[in-house]
């Protein structure tokens, strides 16, 4: 019943919308009106989700949809529209092409949507720089190894030289790129075995003893790897860390005792990283972890709508009890809203040419990724 109501509402709203837009345009030309506060009463807001139902980003989006909706003026219904395909590029392309800039279309982005964009995948026809970020959700992760290797912590990493290390991966240009790149930056010789359908399968391969080095995101690590650590089967090496407000990488608050990746690097190499490889790593780290998931508004969205969204996101995460409710879906990480989110995504998508050329070349030669270099 509730639904048939909303159908009627959205129908009538849709029919008058062109009219409203025309009046708005005309008035914008003649006089500068005070920004009309956005109102979504009775509207149905569609969150374009470039993944199938059920995955991590879909669950994240469905978690946020009602929370954002109830804080927006007029309390609209926010629905999730799944458009899977092309490793999440299809949905993003469609959003770029068709989304209306009136606040009724928002986009749920994940690291998997950013990576092909950063790497210049030819399927990408969307432009992150056109979009406005509302919200960014970070996550963390831990790299761990089998205790059979005899390494007690990351300081012993040098012992692994010459060891037969295997890592189960979903693909060289998937989110696992960060992990593969970390091994490269640390100078670890790890053989990647591809074709896994998710980090869960990879962890299973680790538990079976088929591979001996692996990484999991924070929630996966706590629920499924920590028991292995307690049994003495796995040894955590380092966490990815989190991005501080100063742009530096800090220890992950969930794993305060574990060194983060940059610390691990310093332990191995004796100096802070600075090469183009590390700059590439950092961009991917921001896109894949520090701002892994995000909500965006399309190009040309009016300021009042942007403002309404940013305020509603800020209010949604400030609601008492949010942190407890969010624990399972978001983990214990601070959500970034508005300009802060925008800055994080800007950092993720603005890799310098030297770093990009290096990473594309590395992926092509080492993993036959078939990417095009821009020169």
């Amino acid at each position: 019943m509730k639904h048939s109501n909303s159908t009627l509402f959205s129908l009538s709203a849709r029919t008058i919308r062109p009219l409203v837009a025309a009046i708005a345009c005309a008035s914008a030309l003649s006089v500068t009106l005070p920004a009309l506060a956005a109102d979504f009463d009775g509207a149905r807001i569609e969150m374009t989700m470039p993944f199938k139902e059920g995955g991590g980003t879909d669950t994240w989006g469905r978690f946020y949809a009602p929370l954002i909706g109830e804080q927006l003026p007029g309390q609209p219904i926010v629905v999730v529209k799944n458009i899977p395909g092309g490793g999440s590029t299809s949905g993003a392309n469609q959003f770029q092409l068709r989304a209306k800039a009136d606040g009724r279309d928002i986009f749920a982005s994940s690291g998997s949507t950013m990576f092909p964009y950063i790497l210049g995948d030819k399927r990408v026809k969307y432009e992150y720089k056109d979009w406005t970020a509302i919200l960014a959700s970070p996550t963390g992760g831990v790299v761990y190894i089998s205790s059979d290797l005899g390494v007690k912590n990351v300081a012993d990493l040098a012992k692994l030289k010459g060891a037969d290390l295997k890592y189960a991966s979903q693909g060289a240009t998937s989110l696992d790129l960060i992990t593969l790149l970390s091994f490269e930056v640390l100078g670890l010789d790890v053989k990647a075995v591809f074709g896994m359908k998710g980090r869960g399968e990879a962890r299973l391969a680790f538990e079976r003893g088929e591979v001996n080095i692996d990484d999991q995101t924070t929630s996966g690590f706590i629920k499924k790897v920590q028991p292995l650590v307690d049994e003495g089967k796995a040894v955590p090496l380092f966490s990815w860390g989190v991005l501080g407000k100063d742009g530096k990488i800090q220890r992950d608050p969930t794993f305060p005792d574990l060194p983060h990746f940059v610390e691990a690097y310093e332990m191995v190499h004796g100096s802070a990283p600075s090469s183009e490889r590390f700059r590439a790593w950092k961009s991917f780290f921001v896109a894949g972890y520090a701002a892994q998931k995000g909500l965006f508004l399309p190009k040309g969205t009016p300021d009042d709508v942007i403002q309404a969204y940013r305020e509603s996101a800020a209010k949604a995460i400030a609601v008492p009890g949010f942190k407890e409710k969010a624990e399972d879906v978001l983990g214990d990480y601070d959500q970034a809203v508005g300009d802060e989110a925008g800055m994080m995504f800007a950092e993720a998508v603005s890799m310098d040419d030297e770093a990009k050329a290096w990473v594309v070349d590395w992926l092509n030669t080492k993993y036959s990724a078939g990417l095009q270099n821009e020169e």
Partner: protein, 671 residues
């Protein structure tokens, strides 16, 4: 332990729980009855409501919905020869012939009783199995999973029909189509012509509907009659019930198979029904008068017992490891996280109570679901008596809708048409479509697991004990398949083909082999192109398809040479146009006629978008083919379109847009 069992049982049997469960079950029944929509569509309808619900009630709804999809999808499999979901593809082989003979009610009753039994037995088995499942799942690595795909492929021997070389070649087409798109080892795109749609591979839903549903719809339309040949429905549902009692051991064995195979992550549910079907064929002795392929009730009982048990099995990797075995389990997992349940080892430790609640809810949902289907089957079976021209546009509408549910692009419809034409030709020339589908389903897993096994252990993986055991089972399976095959293959229809050749009457043989030769030539060309394409890639990206195509080239060339030599009595010679007497019967419409209709529909979607195109199709088709009055035509069209609009609105699904929508801004829902 005992208090956990009792408290879970009390939760399951509480009034509130049963109410929510029943809610989920009825939603599942309504969705599942539409072919191809299945669990993912149902769960995505449900997901928005889960958030904020009390976890136990939310879980009850989720379980209820997941449990009954493989029950209600049986309706279209049996009544129309359209596999409702990948779980009931094998049911079509014998269920549909039974419906044609007027035994629809009996087939449905047998299917639902078997579903009910399989689901209950599966839950019982799970209660114990869940405690020991973890080490078992950990014992199945890539090497063992690869061997299981080989075991699955050995079923092709059982389902190959008259000519083994044709069966293997058909399986090869499936394997090749299944390995379209990104190579698991390197991510290189194979045979995808830079087309974004092909890069992802063709979705299973589209292939399943194209290969079975389209040829069946076209065949029935050409004959222009009702599905059931008999004017009245023959045997009733009591008989179907008795059939299951009679074959209870078959049902138990298949339920065990379903639970175990369903529990293996990665291989999952899509082959369970075929393995169960193959098992039924293999274990039925000649003295028991097997009629597989022509309406043997055992061919319905086996896959239906297995596919409900499978859902329970599929819960194990989902709950214990957080690895969903199928698309619907992936959504189930998402739902679990939303209501605050994180899968993991704790599900058999501290959270064991929740696990048992889920397992027994599954059993209870099966009782409610199969029970209501059983009661309904008597009436629904009457559909087989109505003229098909009236039903066809509805079926086509639902199938197209289900197909573009897969990736939500026009490409789905084009792929559906392409696979549909392939299906029509394979049906005509008796290239066994089940063998094709098994190949398609197993292609990805086979290549991935082989590559991974070699990377993990080198070729020494072949000496692992688990691998050797599965190899032995495979050999035994092939042995049984050979043993149960009638010795004189050339004489009579073998019974496992999916053709409807008359069983008693002497066979008419095609004397003009030209059409068959052209098709066989095209198949050879396909493998030739596959080989060429494979050689363009890196070693790891192309080795699987190269080896496959090289072998299949030999097999398909044997077929071609046999046809070229023109020996009419050779088992490779089969042309349904002649065998079924279509070519001499003037009342039968020509084969391409309805293919043109379908092409027109897809073309219409390109121009005007799906909604307008299907509306036009309805009007024109009903007026010209079903010859209904204008008023009836318009009201039927209106009902159909209203249904589409409401469903897609609820599912937040944009219908495919055509050129018209790209050029002109149209009001909703036409946009």
């Amino acid at each position: 332990m005992l208090d956990t069992l009792i408290s879970s049982l009390l939760t399951v049997l509480s009034m509130q729980h049963i109410l929510y469960l029943a809610g989920g079950v009825f939603l599942g029944l309504m969705i599942g009855i539409f072919p191809g929509l299945g669990g993912i569509a149902g769960l995505s309808l449900l997901l928005p409501f889960l958030y904020g619900m009390d976890p136990i009630s939310a879980l009850a709804m989720l379980v209820g919905l997941v449990a009954v999809i493989p029950t209600s999808d049986t309706f279209t499999s049996v009544l129309m020869g359209i596999p409702g979901s990948s779980a009931s593809q094998a049911t079509v082989l014998d269920g549909f012939p039974m419906a044609k003979q007027g035994h629809a009610a009996r087939a449905l009753a047998a299917a639902f009783t078997a579903s009910l039994f399989g689901g209950l037995f599966g839950a019982l088995m799970l209660t114990v199995f869940v405690l020991i499942a973890r080490p078992l799942i950990l014992a199945f690595g890539s090497a063992e999973l690869f061997m299981l795909t080989l075991l699955g492929l050995s079923m092709v021997g059982v389902l190959a029909g008259n000519s083994l070389v044709k069966g293997i070649s058909a399986c090869g087409i499936g394997l090749l189509l299944g390995s379209l798109g990104a190579a698991p080892a390197t991510g290189e795109y194979r045979m995808s012509f830079d087309n974004t749609y092909l890069m992802d591979g063709i979705p299973l839903v589209v292939v399943g509907l194209g290969i079975f549903a389209i040829p069946e719809i076209i065949d029935l339309l050409r004959q222009n009659r009702a599905i059931a040949e008999a004017a009245a429905l023959g045997s009733g549902w009591i008989e179907g019930f008795k059939d299951v009692i009679k074959h209870k051991w078959l049902s138990i064995r298949c339920a065990v198979l379903g639970t175990l195979i369903g529990a293996l992550p990665g291989l999952g549910g899509s082959v369970v029904d075929w393995i169960a079907y193959g098992h039924a064929v293999q274990t039925t002795k000649a003295k028991d008068n097997p009629q597989f392929g022509n309406g043997d009730v055992r061919g319905v009982i086996a896959p239906e017992s297995a596919n409900n048990a499978k859902e329970g099995g599929g819960l194990i990797p989902t709950l214990l490891f957080g690895i969903p075995g199928s698309g619907s389990m992936a959504v189930f997992l998402g739902g679990m996280v939303l209501i605050g349940l994180e899968p993991g080892p704790a599900m058999v430790g501290a959270e064991l109570g929740t696990t048992y609640t889920i397992v027994w809810s599954l059993a209870l949902a099966n009782v409610i679901g199969a029970g209501s289907c059983l009661l309904l089957s008597k009436w629904v079976a009457r559909l087989t008596l109505s003229p098909y021209a009236l039903m066809a546009p509805f079926m086509l509408m639902v199938i197209c809708f289900a197909a573009f549910q897969a990736t939500r692009s026009l490409g789905d419809l084009v792929a559906l048409l392409g696979i549909g034409v392939l299906g029509v030709l394979m049906k005509r020339f008796d290239w066994p479509r089940p063998a094709f589908l098994i190949g398609f389903v197993l292609a990805g897993g086979m290549e991935t697991y082989l590559y991974q096994a070699v990377q993990f252990d080198g070729w020494s993986f072949l000496t692992k004990p688990g691998v050797l055991i599965i190899a032995a089972i495979t050999v035994a399976s092939i042995y049984f398949a050979v043993r149960t095959k009638p010795a004189d293959k050339t004489n009579d229809s073998d019974g496992t083909t999916d053709t409807q050749a008359a069983t008693e009457a002497p066979r008419r043989r095609a004397s003009n082999l030209r059409p068959q030769i052209v098709f066989a030539f095209a198949v050879v060309g396909l493998f030739g192109y596959g080989l060429y394409d494979a050689l363009q890639h890196s070693f790891l990206g192309g080795v699987f398809t190269a080896g496959l195509c090289a072998f299949m080239l030999v097999m398909s060339l044997i077929v071609l040479v046999k046809l070229l030599r023109g020996r009419l009595e050779d088992p490779v010679n089969f042309d349904n146009e002649v065998e079924a007497g279509y070519s001499t019967d003037n009342s039968i419409t020509s084969l391409p006629h309805y293919v043109y209709w379908l092409t027109g529909l897809v073309l219409g979607c390109f121009l005007f978008g799906y909604l307008i195109a299907i509306g036009l199709f309805f009007v024109v088709f009903l007026l010209l083919k079903a010859r209904t009055s204008i008023i009836k035509t318009l009201s039927l069209t209106g009902v159909a379109l209203a249904f589409l609009v409401v469903l897609s609105h609820l599912m937040v699904l944009d219908m495919p847009r055509g050129l018209l929508q790209e050029m002109v801004q149209l009001p909703w829902p036409l946009s």
